[in-house]
């Protein structure tokens, strides 16, 4: 498979992830920060994120099992998770975190439990997607190609506004 095909596959998967709201523009920022000195910056950040996730899930499970649920702790953890997920651009995870936080504010245990389930599911999903994406990237880099994800589309203007 040649570079172009690999590129298109990678791009295709990225677009898919963006379309499905697994990712948003923030990830492309991370991608941008990759250069010669930090070639795996994005990968490292994402890995760190998932490690954090495990820890936080563990804490959350324990907190929610308590007879007297300490919503403050739960809230803090979810807050951290929200921050992390938004930093890497995992949009869906961030959304679930926001909903989770509102349940915490209401002290709605059932809602929290439900959100917990959803969170775990989403995290697993996005992890899979990331794995695929990084594998594709590795293949591309191994084939000698490189790709820069678009940061943000710039507005095209054909008018020459100073002609009045």
């Amino acid at each position: 498979m040649n570079v172009e095909q690999l590129k298109s596959r990678f791009k295709g998967h990225y677009d898919f992830m963006v379309a499905e709201k697994f990712l948003d523009e923030q990830f492309s920022q991370l991608q941008q920060l990759q250069d010669e000195s930090t070639p795996d910056f994005a990968f490292e950040v994402v890995s760190l994120f998932f490690e954090d996730c495990q820890k936080i899930f563990h804490d959350l499970d324990r907190a929610l099992e308590q007879p007297m649920v300490d919503f403050k702790t739960v809230d803090n953890n979810v807050h951290t998770l929200k921050g992390s997920s938004s930093s890497i651009g995992a949009a869906r995870v961030t959304h679930v975190c926001i909903a989770f936080r509102s349940f915490c504010d209401e002290h709605n245990l059932e809602g929290c439990l439900r959100s917990m389930q959803e969170l775990k599911r989403e995290t697993a999903l996005v992890k899979n997607q990331f794995e695929i994406l990084f594998k594709l990237e590795q293949q591309l880099l191994a084939a000698g190609g490189s790709i820069t994800l678009p940061v943000k589309p710039s507005p095209q203007s054909n008018d020459h506004p100073w002609f009045m």
């Binding site: 920022q29 490292e44 760190l48 954090d52 951290t80 930093s87 020459h160 506004p161 100073w162």
Partner: protein, 809 residues
């Protein structure tokens, strides 16, 4: 001879003996006794009756003259006294005769007979004479009777006439009073009301109504009635036959009670509506007063309708009609007299001149309802005009205030809108400038520079929208500064070149060598002017070339610099720049040249151009700027499709060497500064979220900063030092608030300009958070998740500010 037992009745005869002679007559023997015995016996019944009748007759005959004398004496007028005497004598004698006759019933003496005879003779004479007299007298007496009758009739007639005159006098008085009332007020309503009320009272009418012509002139509107004070809406077309009939004559005309003009009467089951009369009332205009016979010439009439009470069987009398006509000014007033006691027609005299002398000659005032009405109408008109003027004044004042408010509002709006427009512009400018610093291919660099310059210009234009309003208010001022004049032209041409090349137009620039390199003036506006003019040249040329020349105008050519109203006055400190832009495009027709500088005026010859191409403020603004720079701009063209040339001259101040060098240094410093500001910058990041920490660190490392990361406030405060230029603080941490750290850091590093810059990392920008940031004195904020641009933006702003602060101190 007496027979014996009859006594002689005669008093003279005392003898008792009466003898009978051979004939059988009794006679008194006594020769002295001439007694005569009546033929019949005295105790005969018939004789007795006769005797009694004679008594009465005598009595009556004697009493009649007595009565006559008595009554005649009592009455003073009796022309026939001697007839009376005669008649009296006759009666007396007749009475005497009968009286004496009483004695002849019995024996009586000869004396009595003689007396009797005498009386009879006298009586006969007198009677005959009286009878003869009466032949003359009785016709006379009869004629007296007829004369008496005649006189009685005459007296009755005079009485009647007196009554009439009195009523006329009465009505005359009423009318004079009416006049007085009418003339005493100039209020039309009072006049009309008084007229109607007085007429009604005078003539005992049931209803009085006045129909005035409506403003349209096509119908009569019921304006006043007595019963219903201000009726609404009753109108009658002016072409009704009854109306025409009344208007065509100056007499009062009887109208049928069923006609529409007699409408306002109480319909309470009357069978016999009273008679109705209508009369025209002329309405005068001011101009009519100058004409001699005014009532005939006035064209507008009102209709006055008068109704007698129903069921009264009254009829309109002539004098009542006359009165009505006089009141309506249709009849020459008979109710006035001049000094000589003649009835006179005074109306034409009055109308000629209203002099007091003539008026007094004519006597009392005429009834002039029309005049009074017209006076009132004139007054009303003038008052209405005055009210209208006042209203207009008020409206104008209001409009003026509204206009002022509108101008203020517009200015406020412009100010706000400009702010709103400037914010994104600012973003574009900032980001393009940041973009400039990234790695770009030369192509991209050129594009970015163009974007930057365009956006600079656009931002200037946005300023100009505000300026135009300020220009129009007259409160605009140029931003003077030292700038590189040659560069201005070069930049403009560079800006234009891409567009021109797309259209296959060649752009050439010639700058005269004697044109100073640096000048003092408003660089931005000058650039705008040149760009506008050159841009127009490009826009309106489909092919060919554009040539731009800049030079100093020669002294001689000052005279033909754009017309007689431009006077170029060179002075020591200033010089003029003449810029000429020549194109080979569509040209301008001579008719359109004056309109070029009008706002939004489209050039009609450009039919095929896209809409909005000719419209706009461009040239108008340019002209204003040029005027402010004490210059002039004009166009020359040979006609359509023959190209055109735009020439303008502006005045600039000669740049001082010292000001120039300072300016240049500042520019260079700024340029240097904007190039490399992040490399080696020591920054500190405090964030408890591992992932965020890592991302931020990566970002800052990418920018070339020297990054230290900490995960808690305590650690932050421990590590922070003077070397750190910027500290990023996550303000959403639970343990130690970023705010507290900020406060502590500020306390530690009190000298303002050496303190590290504090940037808050926020998750949301709600009001509370922003307020807290402001309160603790954060220098900047950045919203998570942030991008490279954002970071660069914030940092460069902060550092620029810091640099400027440092430069100033």
């Amino acid at each position: 001879m007496c027979r014996g037992y009859y006594n002689c009745l005669s008093k003279l005869c005392k003898l008792r003996y009466v003898k009978e002679d051979f004939r059988g007559f009794r006679y008194c023997e006594m020769e002295s006794c001439n007694c005569i015995e009546p033929q019949w016996p005295a105790d005969d019944l018939l004789m007795k009756y006769q005797y009694i009748s004679d008594v009465f007759i005598a009595l009556a005959y004697f009493s009649i003259p007595l009565e006559l004398i008595y009554f005649v004496k009592r009455s003073s007028v009796f022309p026939y006294r001697w007839v009376l005497v005669q008649f009296g004598a006759f009666i007396v004698l007749c009475g005497a005769t009968h009286f004496i006759n009483l004695w002849t019933f019995s024996i009586h003496s000869r004396t009595v007979e003689v007396v009797m005879a005498t009386a009879k003779i006298l009586c006969a004479v007198v009677s005959c004479v009286t009878a003869l007299m009466l032949v003359h007298i009785i016709p006379d007496l009869l004629s007296v009777k007829t004369r008496e009758l005649f006189l009685k009739n005459k007296a009755a007639e005079l009485d009647r006439e007196m009554g009439l005159i009195r009523t006329q006098e009465e009505t005359g008085r009423h009318v004079r009073m009416l006049t007085h009332e009418i003339r005493s007020t100039l209020d039309r309503h009072t006049i009309l009301k008084t007229t109607l009320v007085e007429l009604r009272r005078t003539l005992a009418l049931e209803e009085c109504a006045l129909w005035m012509p409506a403003r349209t002139g096509l119908e009569l509107q019921l304006s006043y009635t007595l019963r219903h004070q201000n009726p609404v809406g009753c109108t009658v077309p002016i072409q009704l036959p009854v109306v025409n009939q009344v208007f065509s004559t100056n007499r009062a005309v009887k109208i049928s009670p069923n006609s529409p003009v007699a409408r306002p009467r109480s319909l309470s089951g009357n069978y016999m509506a009273g008679e109705v009369v209508g009369v025209r009332v002329p309405l005068l205009h001011l101009s009519n007063f100058q004409i001699n016979n005014w009532p005939e010439l006035s064209t507008k009439y009102a209709l006055m309708v008068l109704m007698l009470p129903s069921d009264s069987a009254r009829q309109w009398h002539v004098h009542e009609l006359e009165l009505v006509e006089v009141v309506a000014d249709q009849r020459k007033s008979k109710l006035c007299e001049n000094g000589h006691g003649d009835w006179v027609d005074i109306t034409p005299r009055i109308c000629r001149k209203f002099s007091d002398h003539e008026r007094s000659m004519a006597g009392s005032r005429p009834v002039q309802v029309a005049v009074a009405l017209s006076h009132a109408a004139i007054l009303e008109e003038s008052m209405r005009a005055r009210d209208l003027l006042m209203e207009q004044n008020i409206a104008l004042d209001l409009a003026r205030r509204e206009a002022e408010t509108a101008v203020h509002a517009r200015n406020d709006f412009l100010a706000v809108m400009n702010h709103e427009m400037r914010t994104p512009m600012h973003a574009i400018i900032a980001l393009s400038s940041l973009l400039q610093e990234t790695q770009l291919t030369p192509e991209q660099r050129l594009m970015v520079e163009t974007i930057l310059k365009s956006s600079n210009l656009l931002s200037t234009l946005i300023n100009d929208v505000l300026d135009l309003s300020r220009l129009e208010d007259g409160s605009f001022q140029l931003d003077l500064g030292t700038f590189n004049l040659h560069m201005v032209f070069k930049e403009v041409v560079n800006l234009i070149k891409p567009v021109a090349s797309v259209k296959n137009l060649m752009v050439s620039l010639t700058v005269a060598p004697d044109l100073p390199e640096y000048a003092v003036g408003d660089e931005k506006r000058l650039k705008q002017i040149i760009l506008n003019v050159v841009g127009n040249a490009v826009k309106f040329s489909k092919e060919g070339s554009i040539s731009v020349t800049a030079c100093i105008p020669k002294q001689e050519s000052f005279r033909d610099l754009g017309g007689p109203d431009f006077f170029a006055v060179p002075s020591a400190n200033h010089f003029y720049v003449r810029v000429q832009v020549k194109d080979t495009g569509l040209g301008i027709s001579h008719m359109d040249i004056p309109n070029l500088f009008n706002k939004f005026a489209q050039n009609h010859s450009l039919g095929g151009q896209s809409s909005g191409a000719g419209l706009g403020l461009g040239l108008a603004i340019c002209k204003r700027f040029i005027n402010l720079m004490e210059g002039n701009i004009w166009f020359e063209s040979e006609g359509l499709n023959k190209g055109s040339t735009a020439i303008f001259v502006v005045k600039l101040r000669i740049a001082d060497q010292s000001t120039y060098s300072e300016h240049q240094l500042l520019a260079e410093v700024q340029a240097n500064h904007s190039q490399a500001n992040f490399i080696g910058l020591k920054v500190l990041v405090m964030d408890d979220n591992g992932v965020s920490r890592m991302v931020t660190k990566g970002l800052l490392l990418h920018m070339g900063c020297d990054v230290t990361v900490v995960s808690s406030g305590k650690e932050c405060l421990r590590i922070v030092s003077q070397e750190h230029k910027v500290i990023f603080l996550d303000v959403c941490m639970p343990e130690m608030d970023g705010y507290e750290v900020a406060v502590r850091i500020r306390e530690i590093y009190t000298p303002h300009f050496e303190r590290p810059l504090l940037v808050a990392l926020l998750e949301n920008t709600d009001k509370a958070t922003m307020e807290s940031c402001l309160k603790v004195g954060m220098d900047g904020v950045i919203l998570k998740p942030f991008s490279l641009e954002k970071m660069r933006n914030v940092l460069s702003e902060l550092l620029k500010k810091r640099f400027l602060c440092q430069a100033k101190s």
